[in-house]
Amino acid sequence: MTKVFDTYPWLGPVLFVLAFVLAPLVPGGYVLYIFTLVIIYTLASFGTNILTGYTNLISMAGAVFFGIGAYGSAILTTHFGVPLVLSMFIAASIATVVGLLLALPVLRLEEVFLAIATLGFVMISVEIAKSSGDMSGGENGMGAPGPTLFGWALDERAYHVFTAVVLAGALWVARNLARSRFGRGFLAIKGSETAARALGLNTTALKLVAFGVCAFYTGLSGALYAPLVRFIDPSLFSIMVSISFVSMVIVGGLGSILGSVLGAVFVIGAPQLLTYLGFDQFQRALYGVAMILALMFLPDGLASLFKRKRLPGADAAQSGGVR
């Protein structure tokens, strides 16, 4: 299995497009909805991976960025008549600014301390969302308009393809980032922050960049989510949302693009599949068991099932990976 993917590097992306983008268009309906959801969450998974997998910063603030993205896009389209695509970009940018502001005071913290500190932001943001005014509906939440593109309403299939295109663009940008001094700087911080500083890397600035990129991707993910579900409420700012992002990256595989995808598939797909198979009652418990098993037997993530390929930028991947 591993060898096949190393010999044909295009095989992975092609299979992904076939299985996750094109195939679900056929049945449509609920199946398609689940796959659109997976694509949207993969975006957040990428963002989290840049922060956690690359830079080794564990942030629990994912829900804050996701919620800002969703609310931002919904409010801009509903109340200000901003076109959807533009609103998504603005909302993700707002999430980025918030991400940078949140990161500033907690950047000195490491590992679990950073995780707990960022958890505080989630608790604050959910209260803000609940007590907010008419514009966002406070505790009751608000409706979000369905997807449109240049004035045309997108049906579920068109929107699915739209999210896939956004994901492809995001992937391309992430790849560029990974192969630049910034991406290597993230890996340097993960490897040895002491050495990174001794080599002239401004680690504080690099961590801010990582936070910013993570917030942008997660915010964009939220902005794509709102038009899909058409209704958002303060539960978007729940700790469970943050935890699901981090679990995607850890279950899928830290520092791996494939892992980000598989993680999103697992975290979103597994509970759905269990429900479909009739385990409705024990769905959460079985999902928990599945997660424990995955980590027990694949500590490097689901991606290690296929190969131990790093995100591009790590030289190992460029020179053929496994040897």
């Binding site: 560029n176 980032l177 290597r184 890996l187 993960k190 490897g191 080599l199 002239g200 890397l201 020179s319």
Partner: protein, 285 residues
């Protein structure tokens, strides 16, 4: 004197020679570093002259590594001054952060290796070339021409550095998988890639056998000649120190003990006493 800002790059221009006596590249004056009640470095002063190999020796616990950590600004001394000469004037290192010190052209290696163990040798060295890259974040995200051009040039530079240390064969090996001696060379290569004017080496020969130490001595001399960097090294291997050093500074119990040429130091009574524990001189209380 000026304080570094992030944009300032280390100048590649040679130090302007002052007629008569050359000015020191680095001047350490009255540095004191204490951790709580423990004084690790006490009122230490010495000059490092440009273009020399300067060894910092002393028994374990003499404060040598602490001194190095002060210079590279991982530590902040409570007292003292550390003047560093650049082409555009003197810089007080106390006003710099660790990454700014590196950008001034001061590279270092570590006593216990600080490598990016999960990355390849090539990537380890390439990371050291980051500060030569000017492409902004946006240019990097979009893979614009300047980004791609820089990436190409710097990759070639890395090839050259690896070649200089005979590491080409290991270029794409993951550092973790390499033997200890090779890892030490990788750390040296990484420091070299900064194109430093001053290299701080913390026990480069530690853990090496005699043959490897001889080879290291040759390598260091060759490197120093080819890049005209100044070396400040901490080392316990006396044959190595004696064969490559121009000047030796001896520290003992956190204080400056003596300084001189290898020959002067070899026969210096205080140094002999510090190393042998003063048994013969009967000064024990």
């Amino acid at each position: 004197m000026r304080v570094m800002d992030d944009k300032t790059l280390p100048s590649q221009a040679p130090v302007v020679a002052v007629p008569g006596r050359a000015a020191p590249l680095l001047s350490i004056q009255g540095v004191r570093m204490a951790f709580g009640g423990i004084v690790a470095v006490q009122d230490v002063s010495f000059d490092v002259m440009p273009g020399t190999v300067h060894a910092l020796i002393g028994p374990n616990g003499a404060g040598k590594t602490t001194m190095l950590n002060c210079i590279s600004r991982f530590y902040t001394p409570q007292q003292g001054a550390m003047r560093y000469r650049t082409a555009s004037g003197d810089v007080e290192l106390l006003g710099c952060k660790a990454h700014q010190v590196a950008r001034l052209g001061i590279a270092r290696t570590f006593q216990n290796l600080e490598l990016f163990a999960e990355l390849t040798v090539f990537d380890n060295v390439l990371i050291a070339r980051s500060m030569a890259m000017r492409a902004t974040l946006v240019e990097a995200l979009l893979g614009l021409p300047r980004q791609r051009r820089e990436e190409r040039t710097e990759r070639e530079r890395v090839e050259a550095v690896l070649e200089g240390l005979n590491l080409q064969a290991h270029a794409h090996a993951v550092v973790r998988d390499l033997p200890y001696g090779t890892q030490k060379l990788v750390e040296l290569a990484r420091a070299m890639a900064l194109e430093p004017r001053l290299m701080l080496l913390d026990e480069p020969a530690a853990g090496m056998n005699n043959r490897e130490i001889d080879a290291l001595g040759e390598t260091l001399k060759r490197l120093q000649a080819s890049v005209q960097a100044t070396l400040l090294l901490i080392e316990h291997s006396m044959p190595l120190v004696m064969s490559i050093s121009d000047t030796i500074t001896v520290m003992h119990n956190g204080a400056f003990l003596a300084q001189g040429t290898p020959r002067e130091i070899e026969n210096h009574p205080a140094v002999v006493e510090a190393y042998l524990g003063g048994g013969k001189s009967g000064k024990r209380r």
